[in-house]
């Protein structure tokens, strides 16, 4: 039942979210909301002494959005902005693939578990909301110039 959506990894991240709730000197944050269901997330972004990403998040939402925040922060914290950009792009591509893409586990690690989400258009927003918040926060902080555009509709 719904195995393609609720992978073990997702349920695990949902029940045991990783990541931290705060970082020391956030450069920027972004608040995003899913207008269909009211789910919310705030993502803070900062950098450590080597210029590597630090990510914190807080929010309420469904298993997919919560797990996605957790996977994202675990995956991207400690990466250089360049490394992160590659992963972010790959994740966005995966979400837009309508289930037709075999994700690269080398790049996406735990995030490959979200491959099945791309077959459920109404859930893609759930998986992407924290990634959108991150991108927005990165742009605000100047940590990246990359913009990931998404159609946001109720």
């Amino acid at each position: 039942m719904s195995d393609d959506l609720y992978q073990e990894i997702i349920l695990d991240h949902y029940k045991n979210p990783r990541g931290v709730a705060t970082i020391e000197n956030p450069l920027a944050n972004s608040f995003q909301v899913n207008p269909t269901c009211g789910d919310e997330v705030t993502v803070w972004v900062g950098k450590d002494s080597q210029g590597r990403l630090q990510i914190a998040y807080q929010g309420q939402g469904c298993s997919i959005s919560q797990a996605s925040s957790s996977v994202m922060s675990e995956l991207l914290t400690g990466k250089t902005p360049e490394e992160a950009a590659k992963i972010q792009t790959a994740f966005l591509e995966l979400m837009q693939s309508k289930g037709l893409l075999t994700p690269d586990e080398e790049v996406l690690e735990d995030a490959v578990a979200f491959a099945g989400v791309s077959r459920y258009p109404a859930r893609i927003k759930c998986a992407l909301i924290s990634w959108m918040a991150l991108t927005d926060a990165q742009i605000k902080s100047g940590l990246t110039s990359e913009s990931i555009s998404l159609d946001r509709k109720e």
Partner: protein
């Protein structure tokens, strides 16, 4: 008379399809209803035999099309005990509500620039509009926007813990120009005391509007008996096509409003610098209208009339009573809205402890059960109950007790899947 659900279902081809490899159990009629074949046949027949622009041509097809369109208006008027000249076709209920809101903003702007308008529609600082906290966004945001454009104030009735309107703290006063309330809440299922609310409106010299999106499709309505001045609903929620809604209004008021959409078919005389307008309903129907959709909706009305709206109401009541009872007995499930059948319709929202509504809906969907999750375009209700969203089951005449049981069983499956089956205190 009990409904013969099996024979009704046979009229709806979509209900025999599979989704996700299992048979569809459609319980999202509060969002939109399915369509019986007769409605689709009627639309097609119109296109294949009489399609033409209405009220504009003198040739045979144009006469037939005009007749089909105006006959549809009469059928729909009869359904709610109104006259045809009180019925305005819109694209959906949302447009109908906005039409009334724009009567106020247009009158206010014209008044400001020295044009003569009906003072009942003129708003300014000091005036107020009253709604409720349980409005669908369609009956909330137009009034927020109207206030932003006129300086009037928006007020509202709150909601009690059990999902009723709090009638004790009444914001209506002598400066109220309009009371706009939902008849049946699409998220809580609550049926509001609209006669009493319209009475309070009129006592204070205000006009009254009732959003009947969730009532006209589900119960017999005599619109004049409700005391309202305006009412509206959408065709797609009552077995009709998409793209058509109805505004009902007292003829005198429809004629007193400044026009909303302007253009062809709503005019009396046109000069480059000045125009005059036809009487209602033409005055409020600019452009080539939704002719085929009007024909389809009239056919849906006749279909419902043949079954009998009392019978539809009684059937839904039985389903709802059963649903409420099963949900009440389900540990970990909380009904949002009245949990008894008194003054409530068939839309039933609930939350499940430990599972987000999106996940509940998803697991239900994977078992073929189509329900809606989210704030149901009534976000303030979710805020009021401090929840992000709900899952909503909303049956209609083509559902039976087995559908309700399947839906409830699928909720239990969701609890099992997420490992949140509560221990029942024994």
């Amino acid at each position: 008379m009990p409904l013969d659900v099996a024979s009704i279902r046979a009229d709806f081809p979509i209900l025999s399809r599979d989704v996700r490899g299992v048979p569809l159990i459609y319980l999202d009629s509060g969002a939109t209803s399915q369509k019986p074949s007769v409605v689709l046949d009627a639309e097609r027949h119109f296109y294949e035999t009489s399609n033409a622009a209405v009220h504009r041509g003198a040739h045979a097809l144009a006469e037939e099309a005009t007749d089909a369109y105006e006959s549809a208006r009469s059928v729909i008027a009869g359904f709610i005990g109104a006259s045809p000249n009180e019925i305005v076709f819109t694209k959906n209920a949302t447009e109908a509500i906005n039409l009334v809101a724009y009567a106020f903003s247009n009158a206010s702007a014209k008044h400001h620039h020295g044009h003569e308008v009906d003072s009942r529609f003129v708003l300014g600082p000091g005036d107020n509009i009253v709604v409720t906290e349980m409005e669908h966004h369609a009956n909330l945001i137009p009034w927020q926007e109207l206030c932003a454009k006129t300086g009037a104030e928006l007020r509202w009735f709150g909601i009690t813990e059990d999902g009723r309107l709090d009638l004790e703290t009444d914001p209506i006063d002598q400066n109220t120009k309009l009371v706009a309330v939902v008849h049946q809440s699409n998220i809580l299922g609550t049926i509001n005391p609209i006669k009493e609310l319209m009475r309070r409106a009129h006592l204070n010299g205000a006009l009254g509007l009732v959003d009947m999106c969730q009532s006209v499709p589900h119960m017999p309505i005599d619109v004049h008996a409700t005391g309202a001045d305006f009412a509206m609903w959408s065709g797609h929620k009552m077995l009709g096509p998409t793209g058509i809604g109805i505004l009902w209004g007292k003829h005198e008021l429809l004629n007193s409003m400044p026009p909303f959409l302007t253009g062809g078919s709503m005019i009396e005389m046109v000069n480059m610098d000045h125009s005059t307008y036809a009487e209602a309903p033409a005055r409020l129907e600019a452009g080539v209208p939704m002719v085929a959709q009007a024909v389809g909706l009239a056919t849906a009305v006749k279909y419902l009339e043949a079954i009998g709206m009392e019978n539809v109401e009684r059937h839904e009541r039985e389903l709802t009573e059963h649903l409420l009872e099963r949900l009440r007995r389900l540990p970990g499930v909380k009904i949002i809205g009245p949990d008894s059948i008194i003054d409530r319709g068939s839309a039933v929202s609930f939350t499940v402890d430990g599972i987000h509504p999106h996940d509940v809906g998803h697991i239900m969907d994977s078992q073929g059960v189509a329900v809606r999750v989210g704030h149901h375009c009534a976000w303030p209700v979710c805020r009021r109950f401090d929840i992000a969203a709900t899952t909503r089951i909303s049956p209609y005449l083509y559902n039976d007790i087995a559908d309700i049981d399947a839906a409830v069983d699928s909720i239990v499956k969701a609890q099992e899947f997420f490992g949140v089956v509560p221990e029942v205190a024994g």
